[in-house]
């Protein structure tokens, strides 16, 4: 991606920026799919239903904490233990959000709060790297919300769809280990 590309796509309107985010996330999506399938299959083994799996991966949307939660899952689950582990595993988000904060100053809160719901390792890394490149290139605003959303939504859809697929296929595959 050259500076000229970035400037032209910035002028190219909102859908071009969204698409730039989706395509730059594509290589990462390939790497995510196997993990999503394994998580879904493990969750099914632990007795989570095909509805509960997308509920967890769609509302929580943080893979590391979901793997940890599934390892600890019992029926009924130890709620406090699982919630505490979830916080510990995801506490890195605090630092990630802090690193992103200077680039979000120009945006209204009503856009930032929903956008942060979709902040995962991948969308954060892509969005921040893109913002730094655009800043160096003198493009304003440095942070492209649409580019970030393109990458983040691609991750979100992939994660929810393939964890659900894993939960559906898991019982057919037998014992799954990461």
């Amino acid at each position: 991606m050259t500076t000229a590309d970035m400037t032209s796509s910035a002028r190219g309107g909102s859908s071009a920026e969204l698409w730039r985010g989706v395509t730059s996330c594509a290589p990462v999506l390939f790497g995510t799919i196997p993990y999503a399938l394994v998580l879904g299959a493990q969750a099914a083994q632990k007795g989570l239903s095909v509805v509960e799996v997308p509920l967890m991966t769609g509302l929580n949307f943080a893979g590391g904490s979901e793997f940890a939660a599934i390892q600890l899952w019992t029926s009924p689950p130890h709620i406090l233990l699982i919630v505490a582990i979830t916080f510990l595993v995801n506490s890195r988000h605090l630092l990630m959000g802090a690193a992103l904060a200077p680039f979000l100053r120009e945006l209204p809160r009503r856009k930032v709060f929903p956008a942060l719901f979709l902040m995962c390792d991948e969308s954060w890394a892509l969005g921040l790297a893109d913002a730094r490149r655009r800043f160096e290139a003198g493009i304003f605003p440095a942070f492209s919300l649409r580019y970030y959303l393109g990458a983040a939504l691609a991750m979100y859809v992939t994660w929810v769809v393939f964890t659900t697929t894993g939960a559906l296929l898991g019982p057919l595959l037998g014992d799954v280990q990461a």
Binding site: S49, N60, P77, V83, A99, L100
Partner: protein
């Protein structure tokens, strides 16, 4: 289909996760950082990414370690998509050839 205790656990997980996502932004939104704090924030992304991926490097499986070496080599020469494909293929192949 949905167990009430499972639902409660999932909703609470989602709640604390969202708090971690907005926490850094809420605290730093209207702050002007000192040069020292700015330097820390600029170094943070690399540290976070390494801590996310490093646990996967700890493996007793020789196939995994060889695949890691192949992937690092690929990452220094190729763009991201071919690197990911090389990594996945190398891991699958080497795990198959070299049983633990």
């Amino acid at each position: 289909m949905i167990d009430p205790m499972a639902l409660l656990t999932i909703v609470l997980m989602a709640g604390v996760t969202y708090l971690t996502r907005i926490g850094g932004y809420v605290v730093l939104r209207n702050r002007v950082l000192s040069p020292r704090a700015t330097a820390v924030m600029e170094a943070a992304p690399g540290c976070v990414l390494i801590s996310v991926i490093a646990p996967s490097f700890v493996s007793r499986h020789p196939g995994d370690l060889l695949a890691l070496a192949v992937t690092i080599l690929a990452a220094t020469r190729l763009p991201m998509l071919p690197t990911v494909l090389v990594g996945i293929a190398a891991t699958g192949l080497l795990r198959h050839i070299l049983p633990l």
